[in-house]
């Protein structure tokens, strides 16, 4: 059962309270004003803080006393880092990609842990279901691949190659340059952020629909009561499905960041 710290969205009606965007807004635990900006500490903020502390503690503990034959914690940390380093950084970007392995691994761990809050009892929501977190991660990745590209090729050649694809008749640039500009510099970061956000948002809504559905169906006094069982089973099923999506989306975000880095570093790119 979800412990929702948000108000139920229904007013006046005794029917089923469908979850909506209100389900993502939590009562601030602390709030203050500073420079006309309204600051709030909510459940989401707390979850992000816990994620960061958890990652630091677990990873430090895993490598504090490294052994040649690793114990479980060290083995797990090394597996995750190895996966990102070998299967993403090196395979996709090449030898040059190794220097991005720490960033990509950090990104993977952070997104993974923040995503998995979506199915942890009591937490039951991923901070990434708020667009701000995926958007900020996407901005970091966007800045990174552009800066890496500019540093490698120089701004003129880097943007020149993006906007004016080599080996194309000059007239075609009128048609192609706007498309290239939008798709590389604008659509890329937006899709990166929205993909993660929308997956976590939809996942939370799905779980809410079936958990709230179960409790609502149990409360009715007619034949419909029996449908509480399939609704409950769907909740269980979707929880496992969400676990899969949460891991997959962390992986996809990192793979795409690596592919953008590869594109920025490539000779012709």
């Amino acid at each position: 059962m979800t412990i929702v710290l948000a108000d139920p969205p229904c007013k006046g009606d005794n029917g089923f309270c469908a979850p909506g965007t209100d389900s993502f807004m939590f009562k601030p635990l602390v709030e203050w004003e500073w420079l006309n900006i309204h600051f709030q500490i909510t459940k989401i903020t707390i979850l992000v803080w816990i994620s960061v502390v958890l990652l630091i503690v677990l990873l430090l503990a895993a490598v504090r006393n490294p052994k040649i034959v690793p114990e479980r914690g060290q083995w797990m940390a090394e597996s995750v880092y190895g996966l990102v380093r070998n299967n993403i950084a090196e395979d996709m970007i090449g030898h040059e990609g190794l220097r991005f392995a720490p960033y990509l691994a950090t990104l993977f761990c952070f997104i993974l842990v923040t995503n998995i809050w979506g199915i942890i009892p009591v937490a039951q929501i991923s901070p990434n279901a708020h667009i701000a977190y995926p958007a900020f991660l996407a901005i970091i990745s966007w800045l990174m691949f552009n800066i890496v590209g500019i540093r490698k090729h120089g701004a003129k050649k880097y943007f020149g190659d993006i906007l004016f694809m080599p080996g194309v008749p000059k007239v075609m640039y009128i048609l192609l340059t706007p498309i290239e500009f939008i798709s590389t510099l604008i659509v890329r970061p937006i899709t990166l952020a929205v993909r993660l956000f929308a997956n976590m948002f939809a996942g939370h809504l799905l779980l809410l629909v079936f958990t709230l559905g179960t409790t609502y169906l149990l409360s009715v006094h007619n034949f419909s009561k029996i449908f509480a069982l399939p609704s409950f089973l769907m909740t269980i099923l979707l929880t496992f499905f969400e676990l899969f999506i949460e891991i997959l989306q962390a992986y996809v975000f990192v793979v795409l960041t690596a592919s953008y880095l590869q594109g920025a570093l490539a000779e012709e790119h």
Binding site: D91, M172, L175, S183, T191, L256, Y260, Q262, G263
Partner: protein, 69 residues
């Protein structure tokens, strides 16, 4: 001793699918948008349709040049 087969170069494979999608999207959006602005300006209605088709064609051309062969 036979030479071990070289592993295929799969570099950036995963990104290509998304790159194709974002190029198509950008093509239709950009030229559809330009067509729509022309429609607003000239009070016509064909601009957005022509724009989207032109953008689509441009995106396909780009994709073939970039990821074809």
């Amino acid at each position: 001793m036979p030479e071990a087969p070289k592993p295929p170069d799969r570099r950036g494979d995963a990104g290509v699918g998304w790159a194709v999608l974002s190029t198509l999207l950008a093509g239709i959006l950009v030229w559809g948008g330009i067509g729509w602005l022309i429609d607003l300006w000239l009070h016509t209605w064909v601009g957005i349709v022509v724009g989207m088709l032109v953008g689509f064609a441009g995106a396909i051309y780009l994709i073939i040049r970039k990821y074809g062969n």
